[in-house]
């Protein structure tokens, strides 16, 4: 008989986390980490991570650490249990050091340059951030919701915030653009939220009754689902153009926020109506029969039984609609409705990439916030009896 020893079998490499770490390492090594321009609109010169100094070295160390943590179950089976936490810490380090590195690169490159010179974030730095996010995701999918998971997520946010505040990120050109546009920036953020919010609100006011009516009458269903489906296929610029005609006929302005809100309302209808309709129509007929048989009126049945059961799908539809209108609201700057799209169109006109980013990045952030917020709402509002499954 062979000697019996207690050895933990070799585990598998966490492929997702490894992919994140390798993405960051390869991105940083191969692609420009930052881009240096003598002024705002000339073509940029790629610069490597070497320009970030010790901060850049730190980023490489954290990315390598993430790779090691990803491979830990294979290399050091005894440490397998600590892998998720190690990955979370490495990801926090990657986020912080990447933010710090771009700031440091900006500070160093701008030290000897003119006031007009700009440094913007390059593809390599973006990939480092994406890689960090992938590592974070891989670690989260292994961890239960517990305090170490939350603590390390907070640590990552704090590291990025510190790097942004004290690490020289203020020297980056996107921040420079912000500084010169600060008053407009917040005005546009406000406009953007108003447009998207109004579109979503009208979409709900119109969409929910339409969905309920669709479950009651076939005719309403066929027309409603057909029409909202067709609307979705019309490109947003074309829809805004088409709206000019009926609005002019009604004596209303074809440009400004009115056509924008109408267009956003129409686009939000499809996800809201379709999901709510499916949610309501998938309620088990036996459940409806039991409710009616016990003496619930149509309204009581809808509010107490059908609506709560349709809620997970309905919220999912509202979430999709919210993300959609926040994105499309950028296009409505095209008809003079304002919003963050203004920066994007101005930036494209001026060939100023960083002005485009000043519009685009907050739009992405808003969409992510709406997405996260509505997911959290779904988790709270949906009954534990049907959570994590269909009705």
């Amino acid at each position: 008989m062979a000697m019996v020893t207690e050895v933990r079998p070799r585990g598998r490499i966490d492929r997702v986390a490894a992919t994140g770490a390798v993405t960051a390492l390869v991105g940083v090594a191969v692609l420009p980490f930052v881009v240096f321009r003598a002024n705002r609109i000339v073509a940029g010169a790629p610069r490597s991570i070497m320009d970030a100094g010790p901060a850049g070295l730190m980023l490489l160390v954290f990315a390598a650490a993430a790779l090691a943590a990803a491979a830990a179950p294979y290399l050091w089976p005894a440490l397998t249990r600590r892998q998720p936490l190690a990955l979370k810490l490495a990801a926090a380090g990657m986020f912080g050091s990447a933010a710090w590195s771009v700031g440091q690169a900006a500070v160093r490159l701008l030290a000897g340059a003119t006031e007009l010179a700009r440094v913007s974030i390059g593809a390599g730095a973006w990939l480092a951030l994406v890689g960090a996010a992938v590592v974070e995701f891989a670690a989260d999918s292994q961890l239960e919701r517990c305090w170490p998971r939350r603590a390390t997520t907070v640590a990552a946010l704090v590291a990025v915030a510190c790097a942004a505040l004290f690490g020289g990120m203020g020297q980056l050109s996107i921040v420079r653009e912000y500084q010169s546009q600060a008053s407009f920036f917040w005005l546009y953020v406000g406009q953007h939220l108003t447009l998207a919010g109004a579109g979503l609100a009208f979409g709900l006011l119109l969409g929910i009754p339409l969905a309920v009516a669709s479950t009651r009458w076939r005719g309403v269903r066929d027309v409603t689902l057909g029409v909202v489906g067709v609307i979705q296929t019309v490109p947003s610029v074309a829809l805004l153009g088409l709206l000019v005609i009926p609005l002019a006929a009604a004596g209303l302005p074809g440009i400004g926020s009115l056509p924008a809100i109408i267009a956003l309302t129409l686009y939000s209808l499809l996800p809201i109506v379709r999901n709510t309709y499916i949610g309501l129509s998938e309620v088990d007929p036996a459940v409806v029969d039991a409710g009616r048989g016990m003496g619930m009126s149509s309204a009581q049945l809808l509010l107490r039984v059908e609506a709560p059961l349709a809620l997970p799908l309905a919220i999912e539809g509202v979430r999709a609609a919210a993300v959609l209108v926040i994105g499309i609201a950028a296009i409505t700057a095209f008809v003079g409705a304002g919003g963050l799209g203004v920066f994007v169109f101005l930036g494209i006109g001026q060939v100023a990439d960083d002005l485009v980013l000043l519009g685009a990045v907050p739009i992405v952030v808003l969409a992510l916030l709406a997405d996260t917020g509505l997911r959290a709402l779904a988790a709270r509002a949906v009954s534990p009896g049907i959570r994590g499954g269909t009705t």
């Binding site: 016990m294 009896g385 499954g389």
Partner: protein
């Protein structure tokens, strides 16, 4: 009391229910039975107006169901269906509170009612009140469905194959429990089923339907002994004697004084055969009197070791309850190959046993009883064996 007068339901040219007239007395169980498509479920659903009759009148108590709104009517009629239809997003307690909530009971009264009902249907409230329907087994779900139908203490219960979707063993248990509950609550019940044995077991009156028409409305005994026509005879099946056993409870044929030994059962102790004086089998129980098995005195006599003469059993599977039907008891005996079967209460305490011979006796008894009853009614000799067409 529920009375149907010339109730008809037409869908276009098709007649689902045709001129149905019968009356269910207060506190009785009326089972509607017939082949699928015979109109039994339509009839049930017309009573609480989930389907509106084309013509005719339905009275619940002395009130025409058309004289009140459907919602008000339904809140006064308990309703349980085969697919149960528990609200998946609500806890068991909230499900049971459905009708009380519609009737705006106060919170405390509802909570007390939930506790009372869960206990009644055999689900410990502290364990089940907070569960969600998806955490329940099929049988537990059906019990909650019945509890929900009983919640506002309606005088009338409408049940559409309430035990149709569970396995046979669980169905037998649910029937036993339903019979027990009905004995204490005395509701007026309309019960739809396609299971003849279930109908015979639970019904005070059976309404047998075919193609929307009533074929016979009578007690189970009457319908078994004197089917109104060939269809009724064929539908009820040939094994009438066996079916009749479904009406007799184990407690009616049970021997209560059975030899038993409790506590320690070391082979030495058993082989003294203290209890084997005039019987072959001695039941073994634990110190609390729960059935654990039996001891075969003959096996010792013919030289087997005392240990081999002991058979250990699980009372849940190898014994019956006092309110089990004799038909079920017989089927268990045959299934296990026993000549008699132990009877325990719901927690396994040995109460007695039922012997095969006692089942035979009950069978001839019920024949005689039925013949006598028939004689009294008809004032003529029973023509058992021949089938009126």
């Amino acid at each position: 009391m529920i009375r149907l007068e010339q109730v008809t339901k037409r869908y276009g040219d098709a007649v689902a229910v045709d001129g149905l007239t019968f009356e269910v007395p207060e506190g009785e169980v009326c089972v509607l039975i017939g082949p699928s498509g015979c109109g039994k479920t339509t009839t049930l659903r017309m009573i609480n107006r989930l389907i509106e009759p084309t013509s005719g009148h339905i009275f619940v108590g002395d009130r025409d169901v058309m004289s009140v709104t459907p919602e008000e009517l339904r809140r006064g009629l308990g309703y349980a269906i085969q697919s149960v239809g528990l609200f998946p997003h609500l806890s068991v307690a909230e499900n049971i509170m459905t009708v009380p909530k519609l009737l705006k009971w106060d919170r405390k009264r509802m909570e007390e009612r939930v506790e009372e009902l869960l206990t009644l249907v055999g689900l410990p409230p502290e364990e089940y009140a907070g569960k969600y329907p998806r955490q329940l087994s099929g049988g537990e779900g059906q019990r909650v469905g019945v509890a929900r139908a009983l919640a506002a203490d309606p005088p009338v219960l409408l049940m559409d194959e309430p035990f149709g979707a569970v396995d046979p063993l669980n169905r037998e248990r649910l029937q036993t429990e339903f019979a027990r509950i009905q004995r204490s609550l005395r509701k007026t019940v309309i019960f739809v089923t396609h299971d003849v044995d279930e109908a015979i077991r639970l019904a005070d009156h059976i309404a047998l339907m075919r193609d929307g028409r009533l074929q016979q409305y009578a007690t189970p005994e009457e319908i078994l002994d004197h089917p109104a026509n060939k269809f009724v005879h064929d539908f009820m099946g040939a094994d009438r004697a066996l079916k009749r056993l479904g009406r007799v409870r184990v407690s009616e044929a049970m021997r209560t004084a059975v030899p038993s030994l409790s506590g320690g059962r070391s082979p030495q102790e058993l082989s003294t055969r203290a209890a084997c004086a005039d019987t072959r089998f001695v039941y073994l129980t634990d110190a609390d009197g729960r059935l654990e098995g039996w001891f075969d005195c003959h096996a010792v006599e013919i030289g087997t070791t005392a240990e081999d003469a002991v058979t250990l059993v699980d009372w849940r599977d190898d014994a019956v309850r006092p309110d089990t039907s004799l038909k079920e008891a017989l089927s268990r005996m045959l299934g296990h190959g026993y000549r008699s079967i132990a009877v325990t209460d719901l927690t396994g305490h040995l109460l007695g046993d039922v012997a095969f011979s006692a089942v035979e006796a009950a069978m001839s008894d019920s024949d005689e009883r039925m013949a006598a009853a028939h004689d009294a009614r008809e004032g003529a000799a029973s023509d058992e064996g021949s089938v009126p067409e």
